[in-house]
């Protein structure tokens, strides 16, 4: 077939396509000009009988013609308003989407993950410890002397002689100190227990996150630094912190940390009990007696520790007013996070 013949086919196709006014007509022209029995396809199919240079030239011409006709068909279809997709029949686009229902992380896990990620970014490793502990790890090694009023600060469940449900995740400090040499920078999240009647404010199980860092020359300023960095990342850059002296047997000096009430801006409201400040965690410089119990020399090393209640943080962040909601596991509650 000659060049002229191919050019003529293209011209004919062009003229016929221009006459079409429906998608069906365009489709039948597609069959006529590009279908299996079309002239162009016949040329392409006959290429194998030609040789060398001839084959190359003819192939190129036929392919160009094919592309040209395809383009003409597509352009014209577009110009007459296109074709209908399968979606068009009686479409009610206001019906809800076909969504596969997803589950949710528990808000405690979610809060823990967020907090752990922040400390991970500041070089803290995660360590875990048993929930049933000995008196030694929970109290003795943490400088709670026997027969000392400090022990009354913690209402403790006992399961045996000198065996108890840990009242904080601080025993992990001792267990990790026994295994490692400074520098040690760790957070220890986990369940803790208190022997207290269940109410809107208190549950017998709670989640705590303990953090500690021991090295040469760790100071109170480092403690303030890491907690300010945490609070700004978690609660926002404009958060204000207040450190006030407190007492924990395993830290000296000790502090309680409050954040400026974000609900009322410090003016006083129900959330902050009209004090303008919300207590978020306890902290301090690790007491030399704690170091002595793990054979760290307090003259060589110093360190800080802090501990926060995860429910407390989540309750502040999501304005939850009853701690029992976390343990009821009502899906109507869980799906809100």
């Amino acid at each position: 077939m000659s060049d002229d013949r191919i050019a003529q086919i293209v011209t004919e196709a062009k003229a016929e396509i221009a006459q079409c006014n429906s998608a069906d007509q365009i489709e039948s022209l597609r069959v006529k000009y590009l279908g299996r029995k079309s002239a162009v396809v016949a040329v392409l199919r006959g290429l194998k009988d030609l040789d060398g240079e001839q084959r190359k030239v003819a192939g190129q011409q036929a392919n160009e013609a094919k592309e040209q006709i395809e383009l003409l068909l597509a352009d014209h279809l577009q110009s007459i308003g296109g074709a209908k997709s399968n979606q068009s029949a009686g479409l009610d686009y206001t019906l809800p989407g076909r969504r596969y229902p997803e589950g949710k992380l528990h808000p405690i896990t979610r809060t823990l993950n967020e907090i752990i990620d922040i400390f991970y970014g500041m070089g803290f490793e995660v360590a875990l410890g048993p929930e049933v502990e000995t008196e030694y790890y929970n109290f003795g090694a943490l400088n709670f002397p026997p027969d000392h009023p400090a022990r009354d600060m913690q209402d403790t469940f006992y399961v045996g002689k000198d065996v108890l449900l840990r009242t904080h995740t601080s025993p992990v400090q001792i267990r990790e100190f026994e295994k490692r040499k400074p520098p040690v920078r760790i957070i220890a999240p986990g369940r803790s227990y208190r022997q207290e009647a269940i109410s809107a404010r208190s549950y017998c199980v709670f989640y705590q996150l303990e953090g500690f860092y021991v090295d040469h020359n760790v100071t109170f300023a480092d403690l303030k630094g890491v907690l300010v960095a945490f609070a700004q990342t978690y609660f926002g850059d404009d958060v204000k912190l207040r450190f006030r002296p407190s007492f924990f047997p395993f830290t000296e000096p000790s502090a309680e940390v409050d954040i400026y009430c974000f609900l009322c801006g410090g003016k006083g409201c129900r959330l902050c009990k009209h004090e303008g400040w919300l207590e978020i965690l306890g902290c301090g410089m690790i007491d030399p007696n704690v170091f002595k119990s793990v054979n760290y020399d307090p003259e060589v090393y110093s360190g800080y520790a802090f501990g926060m209640g995860i429910e407390r943080i989540a309750m502040l962040k999501y304005r939850i007013d009853d701690i029992r909601l976390f343990f009821d596991n009502d899906i109507r509650f869980l799906r809100q996070f």
Partner: protein
């Protein structure tokens, strides 16, 4: 502890209002929890002077009084109080006043006589609990003046929330000392002037201590001829503002000095002593003693007693006895000022379950060296306010003097710990303000006053300096050293993946109590051995969970009761089991629960009741995170429906159980719906976690698919057919999909039809129809001969 604001102002000069004072104290660790006006029921209450008292014509118990309130203003008031008399001044509540019990005062007709106001008792005004009659005001009170001002009730109570280490701050002087350290003015201490009579106390009382460990110091004074009455109003007001009820002059004075100095004292009616002596000894086991609240208490040898040598008169430092209590008839008093050992008081308190203002102070640590000072202060107040003659001298038994602790403070260490640049003089000023003595030198020698038993080491002194210096002045520093990049905890990483898989499948994560109900646990497994709590908060929260199932069932119940239709829950948590060693075994498990129907909340899906295979699908999601395969085999377990209970094995290890919970058991959890549950050992799954996989090259040649449907007996398991197919095929069979399961009219009864999609592919060429037919024929032959399968057209 509660202290009057006006009292603090009297003890130290400072210019802060209550709110400022509260926040300044809070910032040095002397936390003020709340600030409240002493009285809120005194609006529209004035001083009234009773001019006349006439009987009521129609009511025998009532009187009609003419009351003057200011010049030329008079009012008729009907009153029923027994003590109303002419000339007396008393609080008069006017129209608009609201009394303690909520009564709003207005003019009322009292049996034919109009009463324009009301004369009030202390109780009606909320001042004290005294309701014996109308309150008698001092003669100097000005008629018509505002009662709040007349009674100096224009005061505010500061409520302190003090940490247990701060024994020194349990008093007005203790708080004043902290204020003094903040503002720089000194504490103005009260004085004690006593005119002793010639008779010597030592001649009328002998003091001996049998247990000098429990009682290192005991001092006594004797006062004769006192007249018990009401304490003066100013003292009652102070006590009121400090949350202590006024009783009588002697008790009020001892309470007042306790609040003032923080040192508890006790006054005995000396006439009730069987012998003129004090003997401090331990109680014997089983000894019984009636305390002043009228309760007979059984004692043991942890309890320290004050006795007269014959019988006990008080539980040392905790509570006095009923028999030796000061009453209105008392004339001769033995005053006790002693120092008791904190741990002895603590053990006694624990044994008796008895707390008191006195006990709290002794337990936290009183000051042995303030004993005579506090004693003299009480004696002088009694002499001036309740009459009486103070016998000469103190009988003071103090066998081994307790000296102040001396320790060394390195100023460099202070700055090292706090990251500050404080000079030694700044530190010394702070310590002086707190009444620590300091001997300067390169290192400072610090003498800790005996009212600070909590300060025993250098670091404790550093804390004292830090708290007064101000935590806000300590710099904030981010990062001093240590490595910044640390690896994630593998357990946490894997748990996160498992959670992600389940959440993607629509499961909600739950967190349930690890303390569980023994009845529920036993219902699930009557043989279960558990770790038991010795001091549970209730009988139904007594065991540590041996399994997550009971918690999940409770969560299922919670949701069913709130009409939730799709319940898909999981928990990853620790379970405990007795180990025979000191600590129980703790292992993590992952458990799932399904109840209701899936996909019910969208028009585009048809709700389907959950089946065992939904549960299995979730487990497969977790299985895919490991490089081992899970196998199910029937097992019997009383908690499950015998037809749907399977042991789950991973590799060679049994990792748990899954199936449908037995309806009889569900009933015990109040659940009427069907519940499917799986519980797996998370430790084994974690140990099988897939290592990071390397990329596999994508196949270069096309796949060919063939669908076949066969009919077999209903009892033939799918897994057997799959195995036959696998064995009959060569390596070109890359995947077999179970497309369909059919039972019903189209097949004979007792038969089922299964359809499979077989996917073929070769690594090195495109497969031909002939290649595939050959393998397919072999499979069909095998299915026929092994399982009696027939091909379905």
């Amino acid at each position: 502890m509660q202290i009057s604001y006006n009292w603090l102002r009297e003890l130290v000069d400072f210019g802060w209002d209550t709110q400022t004072l509260a926040s300044k104290l809070t910032l040095i660790g002397t936390a003020v929890e709340s600030v409240q006006p002493v009285s809120t029921n005194l609006e529209n209450v004035v001083v009234g002077k009773i001019l006349t008292v006439e009987p009521h014509p129609h009511a025998p118990g009532l009187k009609i009084c003419k009351v003057e309130l200011g010049r030329d203003v008079q009012m008729n008031v009907v009153c029923g109080a027994p003590n109303v008399k002419v000339g007396m001044k008393s609080p008069l509540a006017l129209s608009g006043a609201v009394l303690k019990d909520g009564l709003r005062i207005q003019s009322v007709d009292k049996q034919g006589v109009v009463s324009e106001g009301m004369l009030c008792s202390q109780a009606e005004l909320g001042i004290s609990e005294d309701h014996s009659g109308i309150m008698e005001l001092e003669a100097t009170a000005k008629s018509g003046s505002d009662l709040k001002t007349a009674l100096s009730l224009d005061d505010v109570s500061l409520n302190f929330d003090l940490t247990p280490n701060r024994a020194d701050s349990l008093s007005a002087i203790g708080i004043a000392r902290d204020i003094a350290a903040l503002c720089g003015s000194p504490v103005k201490r009260p004085t004690a002037e006593i005119k002793e009579i010639a008779d010597k106390a030592a001649a009328v009382v002998d003091v001996s201590i049998e247990d000098p460990i429990g009682c290192p110091r005991y001092a006594a004074r004797v006062i004769k001829g006192v007249k018990i009455g009401r304490s003066p109003w100013w003292m009652q007001q102070r006590l009121l503002a400090s949350g202590i009820r006024a009783i009588n002059s002697i008790v009020d004075i001892t309470n007042y000095v306790m609040l003032e100095y923080g040192h508890p004292l006790h006054a005995f009616d000396f006439a009730n002593f069987a012998q003129p002596r004090v003997l401090v000894r331990r109680a014997t086991d089983g000894e019984v003693f009636r305390t002043l609240d009228g309760i007979d208490r059984k004692l043991n040898s942890d309890v320290l007693l004050i006795t007269d040598g014959v019988k006990p008169v008080a539980i040392a430092g905790i509570m006095g006895g009923e028999f030796s209590e000061v009453t209105n008839k008392t004339t001769d008093i033995l005053l006790e000022s002693a120092y008791f050992d904190p741990s002895v008081i603590r053990r006694g308190r624990k044994y008796l379950g008895l707390q008191s203002e006195s006990q709290t102070r002794f337990e936290r640590g009183a000051d042995p060296n303030i004993v005579p000072i506090a004693l003299d202060r009480v004696a002088s107040l009694i002499e001036h306010l309740a009459g009486g003659r103070v016998l000469a001298g103190i009988v003071d038994v103090y066998p081994q003097k307790i000296h102040p602790v001396k320790l060394e403070l390195r100023p460099s260490r202070v700055n090292q710990i706090l990251a500050t640049e404080m000079s030694a003089p700044v530190m010394i000023d702070i310590l002086h303000a707190l009444e620590f003595k300091v001997i300067p030198g390169k290192n400072l020698t610090v003498e800790v006053p005996t009212f600070r038993p909590d300060v025993t080491r250098e670091i404790d002194v550093i804390e004292e300096i830090a708290r007064i210096y101000g935590y806000e002045k300590i710099p904030t520093r981010l990062f001093s050293g240590g490595k910044l990049l640390v690896s994630r905890n593998p357990r946490e990483v894997f748990a996160a993946k498992a959670r992600e898989s389940l959440i993607g499948q629509g499961y909600y994560e739950v967190v349930t109590n690890s303390i569980v109900d023994p009845k529920q646990v036993r219902r699930l497994d009557p043989q279960q051995e558990c770790v038991e709590i010795l001091n549970p908060i209730s009988e139904d929260l007594k065991w540590l969970r041996p399994s997550l199932i009971s918690g999940l069932l409770n969560a299922v119940y919670e949701n069913i009761s709130h009409q939730v239709r799709t319940i898909k829950l999981f928990e990853i948590g620790t379970v405990m089991a007795p180990s025979g060693k000191q600590l129980p075994n703790e292992t993590q498990r992952i458990a799932l629960a399904l109840s209701g129907s899936d996909m019910g909340e969208n028009w585009a899906f048809h709700p389907t009741e959950f089946t065992f295979h939904d549960l299995k699908g979730a487990i497969e999601g977790i299985e895919r995170l490991t490089d081992r395969r899970v196998i199910y085999s029937p097992v019997s377990n009383a908690a499950f429906d015998p037809a749907c209970c399977f042991e789950v094995t991973m590799g060679v290890e049994t990792i748990g159980i899954c199936g449908a919970i037995q309806p009889a058991i569900l009933r015990a959890f109040n659940i009427k719906a069907e519940v499917l549950v799986a519980e797996l050992n998370f430790e084994v799954i974690l140990a099988s976690a897939s290592p990071t996989k390397s990329y596999q090259q994508l196949p270069r040649f096309p796949i060919s698919e063939r669908d076949i449907a066969i009919v077999v007996d209903e009892g033939v398991f799918c897994a057997e057919l799959l195995e036959t197919i696998r064995n009959a095929a060569d390596q070109t069979l890359v995947e077999t999909v179970v497309l369909d399961l059919y039972k019903g009219k189209q097949v004979d009864s007792g038969k089922k039809s299964l359809a499979f999609r077989l996917v073929f592919q070769d690594e090195s060429r495109t497969l031909t129809d002939a290649d595939i037919e050959r393998v397919l024929n072999k499979m069909v032959e095998s299915l026929k001969s092994k399982h009696g399968a027939t091909l379905r057209a």
